[in-house]
């Protein structure tokens, strides 16, 4: 063991492995996001102990929290690759429509799920073509796709929902959005998919290529990485998970709503950035995005439990997002 001075801080450096200082530096975004979440929960528990010391508050939040997690995780890949995807909210809608139409037409729900995922991957591929082959900036291209896909949903559904009550007690519904005791099963699916993303990002070639591309696209090209292929995979990954969210969301409500997914647009992006993934690409944290999804999901029930009206919700969303981004900004030491 030895002590050495780095960045003006004394750190203890063991003979091998990660030193405490290095651990903090490598995981500073995740640690910051987690600290922020814990602080927020302490405020809520302190202000409304009667609500937040009971499990009901948590199981209620866990009904919809996984929807946020499931898309925020692949969104980290897109953002770390230096792109953005705004179209996913409408992809959720179109995939939910595919699932609802198919199951209502008598298609086996598992087959309908696969059809929805195919639609989601196709939407991701369309984004990839516009961004990577036509050369549009992803912000603009996916904004266009956002309106375009939602427009298709509106046209096809004529703005009318599709009831799925015939599925209410089916095995399929219980498998994906049932309860174990009072614990929503979709939370297990959400965290499971989150773990897959965590592995892909940190321990798989895919994640390494994503970061290399977002960091220095020329270098990635020169080193033989197929930039288009990797970025296209990231867009299709978001598309596929959007499809899953579309299906879960419809099952939770036992109804297809033509607006399904719209509420996720800004909350998913907020979860990614509050989680500590910077907007400039090259780095990102999947675990942070999961924590970010927790933070975002607890704001609204927290505000209501404290006794404030719903009018405060957006105010506090804004405050939390800005505060946590400012926090992350200061945690990142190297200049850009």
């Amino acid at each position: 063991m030895q002590l050495l001075r780095r960045d003006g801080i004394l750190v203890e450096r063991p003979a091998f492995g990660l030193s405490a200082g290095k651990f903090l530096r490598v995981h500073r975004a995740l640690i910051g996001a987690s600290g922020f979440y814990v602080a927020l929960m302490i405020v809520f528990i302190g202000a409304a102990p009667s609500v937040f010391l009971k499990t009901d508050a948590y199981t209620a939040v866990f009904v919809s929290l996984p929807l946020l997690v499931i898309i925020a995780v692949p969104m980290v890949f897109v953002v770390a690759a230096g792109e953005i995807d705004l179209s996913f909210a409408s992809t959720v809608g179109i995939c939910a429509l595919v699932f609802a139409e198919a199951t209502q037409g008598g298609v086996n729900p598992f087959v309908a799920l696969v059809l929805a995922i195919i639609a989601g991957v196709a939407a991701g591929a369309a984004n990839a073509i516009l961004v990577l082959y036509v050369g549009l900036p992803s912000l603009v291209a996916t904004l266009g796709m956002y309106f375009f896909l939602r427009g298709i949903v509106q046209l096809v559904s004529q703005g009318i929902g599709i009831p799925l009550d015939f599925m209410q007690y089916s095995f399929f519904t219980r498998l994906f959005v049932g309860h174990i005791g009072s614990f929503p099963v979709q939370m297990i699916w959400g965290l499971g998919l989150g773990l897959v993303g965590l592995f892909l990002f940190n321990r798989h070639r895919f994640g390494a290529h994503i970061c290399a591309i977002g960091d220095n696209m020329l270098a990635a090209t020169e080193m033989g990485i197929n930039v288009r292929r990797v970025k296209a995979l990231a867009f299709m990954y978001v598309g596929a998970t959007s499809a899953i969210v579309g299906v879960l969301s419809s099952l939770i409500n036992i109804n297809f709503f033509p607006t399904v997914g719209d509420g996720l647009l800004l909350t998913v992006l907020a979860a990614v950035f509050v989680g500590g993934t910077p907007a400039w690409g090259g780095v990102g944290t999947v675990a942070g995005a999961i924590v970010g999804a927790f933070t975002i999901s607890f704001i609204e029930p927290g505000i209501i439990a404290i006794g404030l009206t719903g009018f405060y919700t957006q105010f506090f969303y804004g405050l939390v997002i800005i505060l946590s981004l400012v926090g992350h900004r200061f945690a990142v030491r190297h200049a850009r």
């Binding site: 321990r203 990635a220 190297h334």
Partner: protein
């Protein structure tokens, strides 16, 4: 003499950007265990030439042979598979990533299902950097490249070529912006690689460096090869005189 086909050979290769010829009708070859110094003015086409060999630029016309075999649809991934490694002027480093991930960039050590072998990559990175003479304790495989000095970054880029046991190492201005001792490390590395049978092509503006280590010096001017020397055939002063003549007239003969 040497009946072995050249490691890499270009035949009447041209490449233009818009209506400007960066490389025009160039024949070029590099043999096994040969060090070729590529010299010439800015805009002479040196960088374009090596980027064609590295598979980053596709030539508009001409043929490319590797170990005697004609290769179609040459690209960066194929070049790396053919054991051609390039150390770029910008060093092609991803600054927010670690030393280990940069060394293995694009060719990670993976197990089943594309899983990264992180420990193995770290161990190899550590070994390589030690071998290149970077022994500072702060200089660990998981240090972020953005925090390194110019020489250390060059070391990371060279470590790539070293790990993949390149048969041909292409260095684009490897000693520019390096301190004297750091430059020496790079030149020694080229000589050591040659002893082990590897070839290298390097671009430099420091004629003395080229003269010190190159077996053959190729002078480029306005997209063409203006002439070439074996090291024994010319002394440093005559070489510089020739270079100046080429810069004035575009021809080598004028100096003689």
């Amino acid at each position: 003499m040497n009946s072995e086909p050249p490691l890499v050979e270009l035949r009447s290769v041209s490449k233009s950007f818009g209506n400007v010829y960066a490389v025009q009708d160039v024949d070029f070859q590099v043999r096994r265990a040969e060090i070729v110094g590529l010299i010439g003015d800015n805009g002479a086409g040196k960088s374009t030439l090596i980027r064609i060999i590295a598979g980053v630029h596709e030539p508009d016309s001409g043929e490319l042979y590797v170990r005697g075999r004609k290769i179609a649809r040459w690209n960066a991934a194929k070049a790396r598979d053919a054991k051609i490694e390039t150390v770029y002027q910008d060093r092609a480093l991803a600054e927010q990533q670690t030393i280990a991930s940069n060394i293995f960039l694009g060719r990670e050590v993976t197990g089943p299902l594309g899983m990264l072998k992180v420990r193995e990559q770290h161990a190899e990175a550590e070994k390589l950097m030690r071998y290149l003479g970077f022994t500072s304790k702060v200089f660990a495989p998981d240090s972020v490249v953005g925090r390194l000095s110019g020489g250390e970054r060059q070391g990371v880029a060279i470590a790539r070529a070293l790990y993949f046991k390149a048969d041909l190492i292409i260095l684009d201005e490897p000693t520019t912006a390096l301190s004297l001792t750091e430059s020496r490390k790079v030149l020694e590395f080229q000589l050591r690689a040659k002893e082990e049978g590897s070839s290298s092509i390097f671009i430099t503006h420091t004629i003395a460096h080229a003269y010190d280590v190159a077996d053959r010096l190729v002078i480029m001017d306005r997209g063409r090869i203006a002439g070439e020397f074996r090291r024994g055939d010319v002394d440093l002063e005559a070489l510089i005189a020739n270079l100046q003549a080429v810069a004035r007239t575009g021809h080598l003969e004028a100096a003689r």
